[in-house]
């Protein structure tokens, strides 16, 4: 039987987490189908159809799914669940919201935030905020899985899947979307950015984050922060990288004025390259950084800004 991936998107474009989840789905076993549920989201289905390895795209285009409300998504996914052996969704706030409902209704356990597909029924997943890794074997029955997208490579383009429309399921009438307040930023989103630059308590104030912003603008990077910087009120909580914030794994993570508490490391230690600037040469962050610069950030950051400008960034 086939494997279903539920797409993550904003009705306009397909989030990269989807193509990464397809990689995990192909390892679980094909053929792989993608469900795009949203409103006026044909462009998203077109994008999903181009992912290599995807055989079919199911498009449920209905106002009921505009915001992927969990109760409505549960009914929709259940309406096609019979056809699938495994159902995967990215472990985004959206996937985490609706998928456990599906698992409960199917009376199967969910396997959350897998990092690796060891074999089609065995997976690695983080526990204790990534301080331990559990290898877990699925029970008999359907496999319901959320995928930590940053742990998987993006499936290539080059597919040409058929798009089938899927009728909306009944409206459960339990909840409705009221409003949303999304942080407006020209910068990429933290969890999907290729480069993340984070500031810690060493920045000393919210105003001083402007030094980080400048570098971020040159490198098209997202800006993050340690919990210490958030607790000190320098930046809002949605900047927070760590055990209690966001988990990121960009190509480059630059930690500035961050000592490297365990709670912070849990959110960024899987980054491909880690660089750190800190004036304390004994800061724990240097124990995991590929490149460490012991320097006063108030000198290093303006210097980096000039140097990047000189190099044409």
């Amino acid at each position: 039987m086939a494997t279903l991936v539920v797409a993550e998107h904003d009705n306009k474009s397909l989030n990269d987490a989807t193509a990464k989840t397809v990689t995990a789905a192909l390892a679980v076993g094909g053929p792989v189908h993608v469900l795009v549920a949203g409103e006026n989201c044909k462009a998203v289905a077109d994008a999903a159809a181009k992912i290599a390895g995807v055989e079919k795209v199911l498009l449920a285009d209905n106002a009921l799914y505009a915001k992927m409300i969990a109760e409505a998504m549960e009914r929709l996914i259940l309406s096609v669940a019979d056809t699938y052996d495994a159902i995967l969704a990215p472990a985004t706030t959206s996937g985490k919201n609706y998928l456990p409902r599906v698992a409960a209704k199917l009376d199967v356990p969910q396997i959350s935030e897998i990092l690796k597909v060891v074999s089609p029924d065995t997976f690695e997943r983080p526990i204790y905020a990534g301080n331990a890794i559990q290898t877990v074997q699925a029970a008999a029955g359907k496999k319901i899985i959320t995928v930590r997208a940053t742990a998987f490579a993006k499936a290539a383009d080059g597919g040409n899947a058929a798009i089938e429309s899927l009728a909306a399921a009944a409206d459960p009438g339990l909840s409705k979307f009221d409003s949303e307040a999304l942080s407006k930023s020209e910068r990429p989103e933290l969890t999907s950015a290729k480069i993340v630059i984070s500031g810690g308590r060493g920045l000393g104030s919210g105003e001083n984050f402007a030094l980080i912003d400048k570098i971020a603008d040159r490198l098209h990077a997202a800006v993050g922060a340690s919990r210490a910087a958030v607790d000190a009120g320098y930046v809002p909580n949605d900047y927070q990288v760590g055990q209690t914030g966001k988990v990121v794994a960009p190509e480059l993570y630059l930690a500035v004025g961050i000592s490297g508490a365990i709670q912070h490391l849990a959110g960024m230690k899987d980054s491909k390259v880690i660089a750190a600037i800190n004036k304390d040469e004994d800061a724990p962050i240097f124990q995991i950084a590929d490149y460490g610069l012991v320097a006063d950030l108030f000198q290093a950051l303006p210097e980096m800004d000039q140097e990047l400008a000189k190099r044409g960034y």
């Binding site: 409300i69 969990a70 109760e71 706030t93 959206s94 985490k96 919201n97 609706y98 456990p100 409902r101 599906v102 698992a103 409960a104 209704k105 009376d107 356990p109 969910q110 959350s112 935030e113 065995t122 204790y128 331990a132 890794i133 559990q134 290898t135 877990v136 074997q137 029970a139 459960p172 009438g173 909840s175 409705k176 979307f177 009221d178 949303e180 307040a181 999304l182 989103e189 969890t191 480069i195 949605d238 055990q243 190509e251 480059l252 230690k269 390259v273 880690i274 660089a275 600037i277 240097f286 124990q287 590929d290 490149y291 460490g292 610069l293 012991v294 320097a295 140097e307 990047l308 960034y313």
Partner: protein, 248 residues
Amino acid sequence: MKVLVPVKRVIDYNVKVRVKADQSGVDLANVKMSMNPFDEIAVEEAVRLKEKGKVSEIIAVSIGPAQAAETIRTALAMGADRGILVKAEGEIEPLAVAKILKAICDAEKPMLVITGKQAIDDDSNQTGQMLAALLGWGQGTFAHSVELSETSAKIAREIDGGLQTVEVKLPAVMTTDLRLNEPRYASLPNIMKAKKKPVEEKTPADYGVDAASRLKVLKVTEPAKRSAGIKVKSVSELLDKLKEAGAI
């Protein structure tokens, strides 16, 4: 309005966990245990709603070993009215927990269940959603703030990239995120008072639930360690290295 608050006993968040040498799990022997921090936020929210006169009774439930009674006492000291301890040894998976909680909800008929978005031990982030689905209720997960009326709850939720507000019909399940509130410390008089509050003892079998694990944990290992790299001398050398590594 009655509120049910499920709370879990977990390794204290300040403790650095150690993986057992035989890879069977993490070492729980002689380790400080506490209430799951997200569940503390849930208890606090319930108590605040009671202080505002919106809630009449708070029932704290814990499913776990005999010592989970301490976790319930903590909730009672914070302001919960009574407790239910469902004694069960070993790892109880979120689905089994949700089934037990469903049976409790069927009996107690709360209008709202408030619990943590996830437990900081297994990081599953499933129980609240599963419970809502089994009950056929709506849910507001990862709550940042809540406005409660007699028939519905307006819940602002922490989502990737910002906040989303949903209006959920009651009864419903709400799971808490970090910014919902800052939990209080129980005062000594309240800790003393909590000792007199009633706690019922049950077992999963009382609710007709088989709590056996369905997933098989093959092993638990340490994550791959990163080793320290090199120290660079200047900003310009740092940029050179990052360029060489293809990172910028």
